[in-house]
Structure formats: structure tokens, C-alpha cells
């Protein structure tokens, strides 16, 4: 046994020194290496988890916002379509109204023109008739040379005219 110990160089103080070495190293590394690094690793793990969480939330928010926008877009599109349809309706109505109005106006104008024409013709006929009567009387006076009662004359003329069935129509 002693021989083996000597051959291997076993030596108690050195053994103790080496055990002490290890514990010294353990304590120092605990302070300078493991604690700060484990703390940092845990911190980073937490940060990453938080980050992922936040990203998840942001993604969900973005998705819901997207859906919202879609809904709004749909609504807007529908509104727009309604508005366009309305406008088209109104336009059609206005057009129809306008056409109707135009028709009426034209009718009215025509009617008015016709009435005016009628009136003017009637007036012209009346003037003509009066002038014709005067001319006829003077002509008859000349022809007959007879002095007749003016009233009698007129009556004869009217009768003649009535008989002649002369009318503006």
C-alpha cells in the first residue's frame, strides 16, 4: 500500500489543497459566472416570452382590425351602391319629369299658339267682315244709287251675309 502511494505520488496536503481548489473555484464561479448568466438567461427567456406574447397580441389585434376594416369596407361599398342606385333613381325620375314637363310645355305652347292664331284669324275675319260690309254698302249705293235708309241697308246686308253663309270657319 505504501509502495503504491509512493509510486503514484499520493500526498495528503496536495489532496487537501486540490479539494480546496475545487471549492474555491465553485464559489467564485457561482458568483462570477453561474448566477449572472443564469439570471441573464432567465431574464432573456422571460423577455422573449413577453415579446412573443406581445407579437401574438399584436397579430390578433391586426387581424381584428383587418376584419373591422373589411366590415367597414363592405358597409361602405353597400352604402355607395345604395347611393348610386338612389341617384340613378332620382336621375331617372328627374329625366322623366323633365320629359313630361317638356311635353306639357310644348303642348301648352302649341295650344297658346293655336289660340292666338284662332284669335287673330277671328279678328282678321271680323275686320274683314266690317270692311267688306262697308265696301258692299258703298258698292251697293253706287250700284243702286238709291238712297236708302241706312238702317234698312244694314239689315239687308246682314241678311245677305247670313244667307251667303259666310263664316270664318
Amino acid at each position: 500500500m505504501d509502495k503504491a502511494v509512493e509510486a503514484l505520488g499520493l500526498n495528503l496536503p496536495q489532496l487537501i489543497a486540490q479539494v480546496a481548489n475545487f471549492f474555491v473555484l465553485l464559489v467564485i464561479l457561482r458568483l462570477t459566472l453561474y448566477k449572472p448568466i443564469l439570471k441573464m438567461l432567465d431574464e432573456r427567456k422571460q423577455k422573449i416570452a413577453e415579446g412573443l406574447n406581445a407579437a401574438e397580441i399584436a397579430r390578433a389585434e391586426a387581424a381584428s382590425a383587418q376584419a373591422n376594416i373589411q366590415v367597414q369596407l363592405d358597409a361602405a361599398r353597400k352604402d355607395g351602391q345604395e347611393i348610386v342606385a338612389n341617384a340613378q333613381n332620382i336621375a331617372t325620375r328627374i329625366q322623366a319629369d323633365a320629359r313630361e314637363q317638356a311635353g306639357k310645355d310644348r303642348e301648352a305652347a302649341l295650344e297658346r299658339a293655336r289660340t292666338e292664331i284662332q284669335l287673330e284669324r277671328d279678328q282678321a275675319i271680323a275686320v274683314l267682315r266690317a270692311e267688306f260690309a262697308g265696301i258692299t254698302v258703298s258698292a251697293a249705293e253706287k250700284v243702286i244709287n238709291q238712297s236708302l235708309d241706312r238702317q234698312a241697308h244694314q239689315r239687308i246686308i246682314d241678311e245677305t251675309l247670313a244667307e251667303s253663309n259666310f263664316s270664318g270657319n
Partner: protein, 439 residues
Amino acid sequence: MKLLKIAGIAAVVIGWLAIGLLVARGPQPEIIVPAEVITTVGPLNLTNSLITSWVVMALIILISLMATRSMKLIPSGIQNFVEAVVAFLVGQVEEIAGEKNGRRFFMVVATIFIYVIVNNWFGLMPFFNAFGKTEDVNHHVFEEIYEHAHDNKVYEEREHHAAWFMENTAGMTVAKSGAKAVKFEILAGDSAGVATDRYIIFLAEEFTDYEGPADHEAAPTEADVRAALAALEADPKAPKIHLVEAHGDGEASAEDSGHHAIPSATLGGDVEYIDFPGEKLGLVIPLFRSAFSDVNNTLALGIVAFLCIEFWGFQALGFGYLKKFFNTDGIMSFVGILELLSEFIRVISFAFRLFGNIFAGEVLILMLTFLMPFLFVDIIYGLELFVGFIQAAVFAMLTLVFAVSAVEHHGEDEHHDGHEGGEADAHPAHPETGAVQAH
């Protein structure tokens, strides 16, 4: 063409090996199992392996300080590297021991791993086993024979002293390339006087053309010793033996003059000192030697592992931990005793597994630098890197596995698989399921 290529490669390899042999050849290695003592401080031998372990400790602490001095959440450089190592170790430990136990065991297991791997890899540095203090072997031999002469003791067992021929035997030096080792042997049963005669013949044989007696076992005769002396005198570069004629109490007179003189059995006088005008006999005591090529250090680490495992066992189970070893449950009481034995045998197996691997690696590298520097040595260096890692991992992982088995409750139903090997195999599977659940 292909043949030419092969021939070319062969030529390069052979040329490379030849250059290596010419310029980079190591000295013939002198394998010394115990770590060499550089100096002593009180009761503590400052061996080269202890010095190396301190240097390595300082290195580890320095790197860890540099890495954690200003830590950032987004790591870079050395912090990144150290964090990766620690994270890897935490992951491994937690995978085997589970989350809760893992954090408890982690620091010791990681320290073992880091300490062992850095020591092993650091031990592959080129200045290891090459640079160091020179020892004057002649002086050493002289002192040793003197002690035996003084106490009038005979040598109880065969002893040998190895040495290299060196220009200088003082101060620090690098081992000389290609130095040839010589070996001086003293046989069991030799008295100091016979040892002195053997030493004279040994010197004559190594430094001159003198051929010693064919029978090395027998004590040298006076004629042989005189012939050896004459041969040494004839060669101006050979060592000169300074004799003082005996006058009754020659030993005492030599001591009076302040010299240690050693008696010769056949010359009838004392050798006062030996002068080396040419090359001297010396040995380089390396300043650095891989810490775990010293059995003290591996044994210390084994004891540390043992202490930690037992501590955790008691911490987890209280005195119930002892039930594993001492119980009155028929055959199980015998198994308990075996368990107890295996706890202690572990320390030895821890120590010698690491020591054997690292020491053998050192010897292999030293041998190959002497026989075939370049090329082959490179391959062995690669292998040693691997061995260094594996041994560190094995030491740390075994500590962890034993620790896990120590803190586990040993119910009555578990006793059937109570032997050590079964446990070591069975346990890693356990916490792994726990780890999976934890994920």
C-alpha cells in the same frame, strides 16, 4: 498519373516526417508517474500539476469575469460563448435530473465539467512537459548515495535515475530536442560503496568508449572500477572523479571540509565530488503538467464528487438516506452493504478513470514527439482533444447520475433493481419524462 499523385503525397509525407525528426524531435521521454515537485511551501509540495491547476483556475475565473463584467441582454463576443456553454450545461443537467434537482446539482456538475475540460485542453499546450526547471541529476545521485552511506544503509530495492546529456544544469530551460536519455541503476542489496562504484562505471560507459563488465548484476570489481577511472581521465570532456584517500575516518574529514563525500567499496577512498567539464547529466522538471495526470488531483475531484453526492442524499432524505445502506430486510441488507462499498469504490474509479486517460495521453504525446514528430502527433493531439472532452463529460455526468440516484426515495418496491449499474441506466429515463412534461 494517379500513381504519380500517390507517389507525390508519399514523398511529401516522408519529407515532412524527416523534417520533423531533424528539427522538432522531442527528447527521449522520461516517464515519471508522481507529479514533480518544483518547490515546497510548509507541508505542501508545490508540484507542477498543482501549479497548472492554479493557472487554469485563474484562467477560468478571468474568462468568466470578462464574460460577465458588462452583460447585455443581446449577447456578443465572449459573453455569447460563455452563455452558450452555460446554457448547454444547464440544458443537459436539467434533461437528466429534471427542472428542480437540475438547478441544485448544476453548479457543482458544471464546475467539474469546466474545470476538467479546461485542464485537459490546457494541458495540450506546447509548453507543457517541455519547459521547466533543470535538475542536476549528478547532484541528486550523489546526495542519495551519501545519505545511504551516512545511515550505513543498503539499498532495499532497485532504483534508477534517468538523465539527459545537457549543456547546463542550472535555471530554467526547454527540453533539448532529440536528447537521449540514459539510465543509471542501483540494484537491491547494494551498499552505498557498491552504488558509488556502479556510478563510476556508468559514467565511463556513457561518456567514453569504455565497456563495463558483462555481468551487470554483480558488484563491480576493483579492476573494472580502475579501468573506468582511467578511461574517464583519458577523455578531456568526460567527468573527472575527485578522490580523497581514506585515512581511517575519511567520512568525517570530508564532512569537516564542507563536502559530502561518498565511499567507494573497491577504491579504498571516498569520491569527494565529480567535475563535469563537458556535457552534464540533467533532467528538465517541467513547470507545467496537465493537472489530471496527477492522481492527487483526480482523487481530490473524486472525493469532491463523493462529498457532494452524500450531502445531497442527506439533504433530500435526511437520515432516511442511510436506509439505502443499512436495513434488516433479509437479502437487501447485504445489497445495502454492497451499495455502501460501491459509494467508496466510485471515488477510486472516478480518480483512476480520469488519471489513466490523461496520463496515458501525455505519455503517448511525449513518446510520439520523440519517435515521430509532426503528422502522427497531430492526429494524437486531435484524439486527446476528444478524450479531454469525453473525460470531462463522463466525470460530470456520472456525478450527476449518482446524485440523482442518491436523492431518490428508495421505497420497498424499488429494492429489486438496487444494484448500481441498473440504477445508472434506469435513472436518466425517469427525469426525461419529467422534462418532457415540463416542456
